[in-house]
Symmetry: C2
Subunit: 486 residues, 2 copies
């Protein structure tokens, strides 16, 4: 039996009073945690849109800094295209637009009878007409650019903050054009490598797979997608690297003159992702007490809590000295000087997922040590102040590693290899992800549709051990994930 | 006689072939330079919108980094609000919206009969309903936030790239709320101080003035605005710091409970600016050859040009060593290895405004020196390689200072004190900016309207030397700028 997932019933115009539930009630927990950890404000009165609060913005900005650095190091240059796209650009890819025009926001002046512009749902219709202008000869290639920008979808589906929004904020898109197929394939490998670097900094294991051909953009060659498995067993698409072949080049007439004075279509790739990185961090690292941020992206890595009965001033100079020493070592540190009890402060910073707490009270001041408490394990440790920088750095590394290992273990438990078709539905309904052998035929994949909400998500890359297609029994070296998805 | 200013007649869908004109033809020069220096792509087919090219984006990103750092150091926190604003938020400030609804973009779904949302023209209608939710008691104050975002105006006026756009990119807005009037006034001083820091990094002198009361936002207390004088004598508004008093608090019901359990309206400020910083840099530092970027914001501070007849490989190792040494010293350096003549390369990097060029040829390699050429003066200097880091840093400082001094001199020449009403029009028509004594009355300011296009722009801060109002003759300590504006 499928475990019924309850949704949070806090009205959109109210803030949840407290977390109230454990992570086992994932959907409610997630909805409350994004607000209580002060990541976002959901009371903005447009469905599917929200405000980034300063703390949430800083977390997301740290994740963005990862991709900005990695793209720049790789020579992918940043640009910015207008958010408003004229309809004639969108219509260059007519089949796409015909299917898409109900899912976009239309823009018009007050007096205009008809809207002739849309808010960008995705980069291609704004970018590719420009590519067609910029690319003339081989020396204009490769063209390798990205932008980070909002995308807009007039979603009819149920929206979920950061997972399915109507304004998709912090959305990056890499778009590249190349003279040869081989070059575009190498490019895609680079995008995959970069994504793996990002996942590493997020302390999350990478699940990457090949998208089924019928789900690839029309005319494109293929796509590699990254996925996470959420605590409820559903898979979340989290980044896709698309080999567009020449499909878009042909729609947008993006050509170059080759050595023989022949016009050739370019080969293209595009890769995109955004705030869903943060969704994975929230969902996979968090616990019943709140968020747990990996040290590599935490805007506050260490929170110092002065422990005192009456007189903060006896403790504060030591707190400040500790802060200064750790800051000089390049760490992000804050002292919480609020007039609350230590217990209240622990509660707040645990919800916000600060990886390490340092407590400094009269005992610590007297004997020159600090007490460090790890957010991930709750483990306390006394550290002599003279060893502080080294020890604290070791602890942060251990937290970063431990978070990764915890998720790896969770994945190992939740991913189950199934070779009997009759076990498939019940396994997935227990909240598991199934890995099956599959013969790659559309017919066999269609057979899965009889299980409502269950999908063939994608296939493991490369050849796997030989086995029999779970549906038709044909021998195959392809293994695929079957799961519920977002 | 007013010098007729010609506009560039290059069609929007074509790139200008070359600069063609000197800076004296400012309007044409400006339009061509933003494209030829590869700052923006104007061939995007929406009026008043353009694409940021990688080089332009990097310049602008460097300017943005200035404000990000300064705001953060000041404790002003970054947030992000949705770009789509529901009409009920906009209507909370009804008088504002009644006047504004023809100047905004309306947003709707394809099936929707009526548009019920707008694209943000400015921050208040998205932010202040949230302020009303967030601010409850004195401990929620001060609230000091900013965001950098696009704003949208359905301009009916003639648009000009980066000066008047329909999508106003890289637009920051600081919004703050305070418990007392005094605190909000201190806040505004901080915003002015930050702006002055930015102007310093841009090597531009600050002209700040008090806006005439009738041009201040309705109900607000006052505003300080920054201006530049363009080469054609027109003044360009470039940043405004607004003392909103309690006007907006009353419209949006932003209140806090004071010590006596009384609801009090908050005191607010807002400060905004964006890509116009770059306009001032382009217009005031550039020359007949192109852009000149101040070293503090140049994405490439030094361009190395290898000078060789046939064999780059004899020169390249030295070029690379020089680059490495300068990069290790924290400088932004690039080698131009294109297969063009040195003359062609000089031309390109001069247009792009790279502050320092280093030429390295066989002679330089043999005798261990480099030849440095300043973009601002064209002056050549031989530098021994062993002194390179020190000498190059001195040169960059000198360029930064010289750019500032050049503009200061230009301002000294173009600003003319006038005490005879009859000389006013002719002085301004000669491309000057007039400074006059003015009694602060609206009637006297109205008298200026008989000169078409000439405005009382604003007044110098604080008391000036006593004089007679140029219009009515009344004694006054106020002096004001009178000029043509953008």
């Amino acid at each position: 039996m499928l475990k019924e997932e309850k949704e949070d019933e806090t009205p959109k115009n109210e803030l949840p009073k407290d977390l109230g539930v454990g992570k086992a009630d994932f959907s409610i927990w997630y909805n409350r945690i994004v607000q209580l950890a002060d990541l976002v404000e959901k009371r903005y009165n447009v469905a599917g849109m929200f405000v980034w609060k300063p703390y949430g913005f800083r977390v997301m900005r740290n994740i963005k800094k990862l991709w900005d650095r990695l793209f720049t190091e790789s020579g992918i240059e940043e640009m910015y295209f207008p958010l408003i796209v004229p309809i004639e650009y969108a219509q260059m890819n007519k089949s796409w637009f015909d299917g898409f025009q109900d899912e976009v926001f239309w823009v018009k002046g007050r007096g205009d009878e008809e809207a002739t512009h849309i808010l960008r749902p995705t980069g291609e219709p704004a970018m590719y007409p420009m590519f067609a202008i910029w690319i003339r000869s081989k020396k204009d290639l490769p063209l390798r650019i990205y932008e980070t920008v909002s995308s807009f979808r007039y979603e009819t589906k149920h929206t979920r903050t950061l997972i399915r929004d109507r304004e998709i904020t912090f959305w990056y898109e890499i778009h590249t054009a190349h003279a040869t197929k081989e070059e575009s394939e190498e490019e895609l490998k680079e995008h995959i490598r970069i994504n793996e670097e990002i996942w590493k900094a997020l302390a999350l294991p990478t699940i990457k797979m090949e998208k089924p051909q019928w789900e690839v953009f029309p005319g494109a060659v293929g796509a590699i997608e990254f996925y996470n498995i959420m605590p409820n067993g559903r898979m979340l698409e989290n980044g896709s690297c698309n080999n567009l072949g020449q499909a878009y080049a042909k729609k947008f007439e993006i050509t170059y003159m080759d050595e023989n004075n022949q016009q050739q279509y370019v080969w293209q790739t595009c890769t995109g992702n955004g705030a869903r990185y943060l969704v994975a961090v929230i969902a996979l690292h968090g616990d019943d007490k709140g968020l747990i941020l990996p040290p590599k992206i935490a805007p506050i890595q260490i929170i110092i809590i002065p422990i005192f009965k009456e007189d903060l001033s006896e403790i504060l100079p030591t707190c400040e000295e500790v802060m200064r020493i750790l800051q000089d070592a390049g760490l992000e540190v804050k002292i919480d000087q609020d007039m609350k009890t230590p217990g209240e402060k622990f509660y707040i910073w645990e919800i916000k997922g600060v990886p390490l707490r340092i407590e400094i009270g009269p005992k610590e001041v007297a004997s020159k040590f600090i007490t460090a408490v790890r957010r991930d394990l709750g483990k306390r440790e006394k550290i002599e102040m003279k060893d502080m920088v080294t020890k604290v750095n070791i602890l942060l590394d251990q937290i970063q590693n431990n978070l990764l290992i915890k998720v790896q273990k969770f994945y190992e438990e939740i991913i189950v290899e199934i070779d009997n078709f009759n076990e498939l539905e019940s396994t997935i309904n227990e909240g598991k992800v199934a890995v099956i052998h599959w013969c790659r035929s559309g017919e066999c994949a269609d057979d899965l549709k009889k299980f409502e909400g269950i999908e063939l998500v994608g296939s493991l890359l490369g050849n796997q051990e030989l086995g029999s297609c779970i549906i038709c029994g044909k021998s195959t070296k392809t293994m695929s994930y079957v799961a519920r998805t977002y």
